[in-house]
Amino acid sequence: MEKSFLQKYGIVLVLLLICAVLSFLSPVFLTAPNLINVIRQISINGILAIGMTLIIITGGIDLSVGSQVALTGAVVAGLLSSGTSIALAIIVGLAAGALIGFINGTIITKGGVPPFIVTLGMLTAARGITLIYTGGRPIYNLGSTFRFFGAGYVGGIPVPVIILGIILIISHFVAKHTVFGREVYAVGGNPEAAVYSGVNKNKRLVQVYTFMGFLSAITGIVLTSRLGSADPTAGTGFELDAIAAVVIGGTSMFGGEGAVTGTMIGALIIGVINNGLNLLNVSSYYQQVIKGVIVVGAVLMDGYARNKQKKPAKVS
């Protein structure tokens, strides 16, 4: 039995339904500028959620992405404000992100510490380093050219959206069509069987966390560029939005199942709801409640769909 229609496309239907309702309630919702705005708003969360998808597919979690974003953003901003070229600053920033991820992955695999604990530690530590590095103050004066990555447009499309699109396509391809991707699913689905099949489990895990760090750095650059400054408290709580998108998108927290495309729908659902509630002037307090309900509701629905299809599977 392959995936049922409901399981495969249910989440898309939910997205369309929300869009339909919002277009009734607000005349502004279904206009091109607003929709582009929605996608630009989700690009930050979307990039992080793609990396988080791979991590959750391995059965892990990365709670430190928000701090990674802040730290890499601060590193890039620090270099720029001291006169370093944009290219070099970005390269160093990306390397810093990858390094944090590499450290996470290495402690998880070599030290045998659960990802939840390791990345919880990293969440605090990386935030602390950011505060030390910046002295607790935002870094300004990044130059106008640098604003391109967060606030620029190419052919009418915001640059962050283009970056998200490229990462999405590459990640989807890597997950579905490469040895790396296949082995990541195997490691999450049954680590023991993966090892027995000759898969280098630890290497794959380190690679996945390193990739997450790399994507956090891209996010850090986009965010810093968009705001025109690096705030040491930036990115707080980003990990939760990323996890929410992954979970709404149908990736199993138990690992072995999921797709970055689903995550993108999850990110869109969160984005559309945020946007819609803003358009309808719902207070941000209520927005938080509604978002929470939707995360749990989506997973409930997903579990229901899975159970419905799992039961008849065993015929023997």
């Binding site: 039995m1 392959e2 069509h177 490469t178 040895v179 790396f180 296949r182 082995e183 699913y185 195997a186 689905g189 049954n190 023991e192 069987a193 993966a194 090892v195 027995y196 099949s197 000759g198 898969v199 280098n200 072995g256 199942e257 039961k311 008849p312 599977a313 065993k314 015929v315 023997s316």
Partner: protein, 494 residues
Amino acid sequence: MGNDCLLAIAGISKRFSGVKALDNVSFEVEKGEVRALIGENGAGKSTLIKILSGIHTADSGTIFFDNTKVDLKTPRDAQDLGIATVHQELNLVPSLTVSENVYMGRLPHKSGVIDYKQLHAETERVFQKLGVKIEPTAVVRTLGVAKRQFVEIAKALSQGAKLVIMDEPTSSLSAGEAENLFSVIKTLQSSGITFIYISHKLEELFKIADSVTVLRDGEFVATRDITDCTMDNLVELMVGREITTLFPKVKVELGEPVLHVDNLNRVGEFENISFTLNQGEILGVSGLVGAGRTELARCLYGISKPDSGHIYVNGQECIIHKPLDAVNQGICLVPEDRKLQGLVLKMSVQHNVSLATLSRLKKLLGLIDSKKETDAVNGAVSKLQIKTPSIKQLVGNLSGGNQQKVVLAKEVLANPKVLILDEPTRGVDVGAKAEIHRLIGAFVQKGGAVLMISSELPEILGMSDRILVMSKGRIVQEFGADEATQEKILSCAL
């Protein structure tokens, strides 16, 4: 329906999303008998048990228990009636003690505080009835499978079970442990408890069962007294055709030595292991559970490292520290437990079969050559006659025999020189078993070498060119195929 009838099943049918699992099945079980229930994988045994234990509900038909029509909607309903099921995957809490497990949900207490004195005493009494010695205060995690099974039986008894359903209880027991289980069943039988006993090991039915009911493709085939049956009868009833060669051993000319193991040691697991395996040879490894056979296989495959000793492949010494090293040397392993170590159940047949061969199926940039992959997988699936609607099917949805073939396909696709098989046909029905044996034969015919660990003596005797017997971590005896008998092997293994 006579007075001595405990369970009567009348016209039970069950479909799963259109697929027929049980079709108008009717039979009766008498009080105090041990009734074997057999059939190939997919015959409907598991579905029937799940209906009897309240996990599934039948679409139509009625069940009479103790001459009363009963409605089994939940596992609790079955339990309350006195129907207990000991599932293959035992349902115990490993971190709790034996007595806590036995009385879980009914712990004796004084205003909420557990009365351990009473608890242990009552547990002790139950085990006395069983005639086995297990410490009530032992933590379940520290017990072996055999003892855990007794804990499950004790739990059933303490709940006042009249009918105990056992689903393949001996599949992971050694011969000696199985004998213990049989004597417990006999003891309980003499005190009036009825058993439904499911097993793929037909030999043991002659020791334990009074009668046997055969299912095939969801339909009732026959109920016979065991004394009226022979192995061949039963096999014929199960598959609906005659299987003449259960162990189709092919004669193969032995070639050069491929694997030579010299004085391999791993503290606490095995010691002084030396043997040579030749091209075209099937070397059987027999012994009790815990004799160090699986540990040896794991070490040869690089899951664990030896403390001392040497491994030579084609005369070259090689260092095997991880499975990838073994695979690169041409050694592959079909592990003991397909669900735990063999398969990623959430992935498709295709992705499982190709998992060990991905490095050979890749193009530039680590991309998988999908045409090459599909071709290779389709080839393996048809060669091994894996019954699946498509290679995109999730492996978790296949029957046990087909799952085992998927594991085998994965390893054979890697084209190894040496194939280590750890219990290659555990929990697999006779039809699939014969096919797996045929595949092993075909593999050695093409010059492969097989090291086959098996707890089933007929399999060891039927398939092997030579047999090593292990006991307490050592090779205690080597037999040629002609000189070995069940008795000789058992006496060395004990």
